[in-house]
Amino acid sequence: MGDLFKPFHRKVMLAVAVAIVLTCALTMNWSWLPKYAPLMVRGIWMTAWLTVVTMGLGMALAICLGIAQAAGPWWLSAPAKGFCSVIRGTPLLLQLWLLYFGLGSFFPQFPWIRESELWPILRQAWPYAVLALTLSVAGYEGEVMRGAFKGVAHGQLEAARAMGVPRFTAFRRIWLPQALHRALPTIGGEMVLQMKATPLVATITVVDIYSVAKRVTQDTFIVYEPLLLLAVVYMALAGLIVLLFRRFEASLPTRTA
């Protein structure tokens, strides 16, 4: 970290950056912060929670999709490929609206839904957000995992089979860990992209940090300051994700041969 600012021009840039931040902090209108701070904290929590949960669930689904495409029979790999193509070929905003408003338009026609056990969940907005984001992660990461699975040296799997290792154990202990290791840098980048996709859930009434910033604008008519703070929050979250992934990658032993 100390080396980062050794060159002189970097010191100048750091000074300029600090000056910009101070000017913004002192001259712009931040009077709304104390009133909205608790709401902002809740929004940040929602954004972070959505990112982590959908990434986790999505990766689980992506592993299935990846292995289906890499090694499955045609009646598994074709639907998997089709699913990934559809998800990657349509905008996330459209998928969100289709799930929330499209499914919602069916509810009045089937009154028995309201009596069912699932109603408290179907009623709220966040399950739809989680579903749409999870499917989105699965669609994109399915492609990544497919490449990762195919990239693992096949010889290892053949050797395992020759030694009588059961197929699932070979998958669990040889193929999967190496594929994940290969895909790790890409997955780190994809997690940042996933976090950047979360603001869209504000359009289906989920209260994340973006929704809070818009609420501040509509209450106070201050346009730029909430957006700037929002950008800073997202940059901090992205930086955190990148740092965590770098740490994690560094902790895994890598053979270069």
Binding site: P7, H9, R10, M13, S85, V86, R88, G89, T90, P91, L92, L93, L94, Q95, W97, L98, F101, G102, G104, S105, F106, Q109, G147, K150, G151, V192, M195, K196, A197, T198, P199, L200, T203, Y210, V223, Y224, L227, L228, L230, A231, Y234, M235, A238, G239
Partner: protein, 249 residues
């Protein structure tokens, strides 16, 4: 399935999607056309910024490299939606302030222009990285050999760097094109009438949500499949004369 779909609409599905009123087909296709126009404009602007950015990052001085690094990092860390909102108001404000200061009347930037500017700036950051990676992947031995034989830099760029770089860049550029076509949907949040906004208008007015969102999904899929075909053609042309790399994928 069709009964479910038509049950949500007063008129039948085909009527709603028909070309002329009361069908919304023409509006949807108009929205698709706007989407394609903005995507083309933003993509071109992004490529332009990307070329300068990539060269700056590779061959520029340390200050230029760092400034470009800040640009690409900022754009890639902040959600496009937030960037679109900030840039949409800030760009038009800034342009107007400059014009007023210079003594001209403030010009109203049309929605298309603002959308292209904003998405182009965002695309520029990603293009920079793709092009930089592609230029780096050109085998340095070939460039050194050309220099050793006294090839002038312009000829070197045109005959050696560019063709080899293109074949490495095309997959990344294809992804960027798909990204920009889908990012145009975000302009719906600033009210610009592209395909997603047109769809939500039609769905909200007719209450046939499922019909229209599915129709829009189909249109986007057609766009992405067609783009995929075109880009694989382009990639085959860019890779002409190179040895076939079998075995990887």
């Amino acid at each position: 399935m069709l009964t479910l779909v038509s049950a949500t609409a007063a008129t039948s599905t085909l009527d709603l999607l028909a070309w002329s009123p009361p069908g919304w087909g023409a509006t949807l296709v108009q929205g698709l056309w706007n989407t394609i126009l903005i995507a083309l404009g933003a993509y071109a602007l992004g490529l332009l910024i990307g070329v300068f950015g990539a060269f700056g990052k590779l061959y520029g001085g340390p200050v230029v490299k760092d400034l470009l690094g800040v640009y690409t990092t900022l754009v890639r860390a902040v959600p496009e939606l937030v960037l679109i909102l900030i840039l949409y108001f800030a760009v038009t404000d800034a342009v107007n302030k400059v014009l007023v200061a210079a003594g001209y009347d403030p010009v109203q930037l049309s929605g298309v222009a603002a959308g292209i500017a904003v998405l182009g700036i965002v695309q520029g950051a990603y293009s920079t990285e793709v092009l930089r990676g592609a230029i780096l992947s050109v085998p340095s031995g070939q460039i050194e050999a050309a220099r050793a034989m006294g090839m002038p830099p312009a000829l070197l760029a045109r005959r050696i760097t560019l063709p080899l770089m293109l074949s490495a860049a095309v997959p990344g550029l294809a992804n960027l094109w798909l990204t920009v076509t889908k990012d145009t949907a975000l302009l719906a949040v600033v009210g610009f009438i592209e395909l997603t906004k047109a769809t939500s208008l039609a769905a909200a007015t007719t209450k046939a949500f499922f019909t229209f969102f599915m129709a829009a999904g189909v249109l986007y899929l057609i766009l992405s499949l067609a783009s995929g075909l075109i880009f694989s053609r382009i990639e085959r042309w860019a890779r002409r004369g190179q040895r076939n790399m079998s075995g990887g994928r």
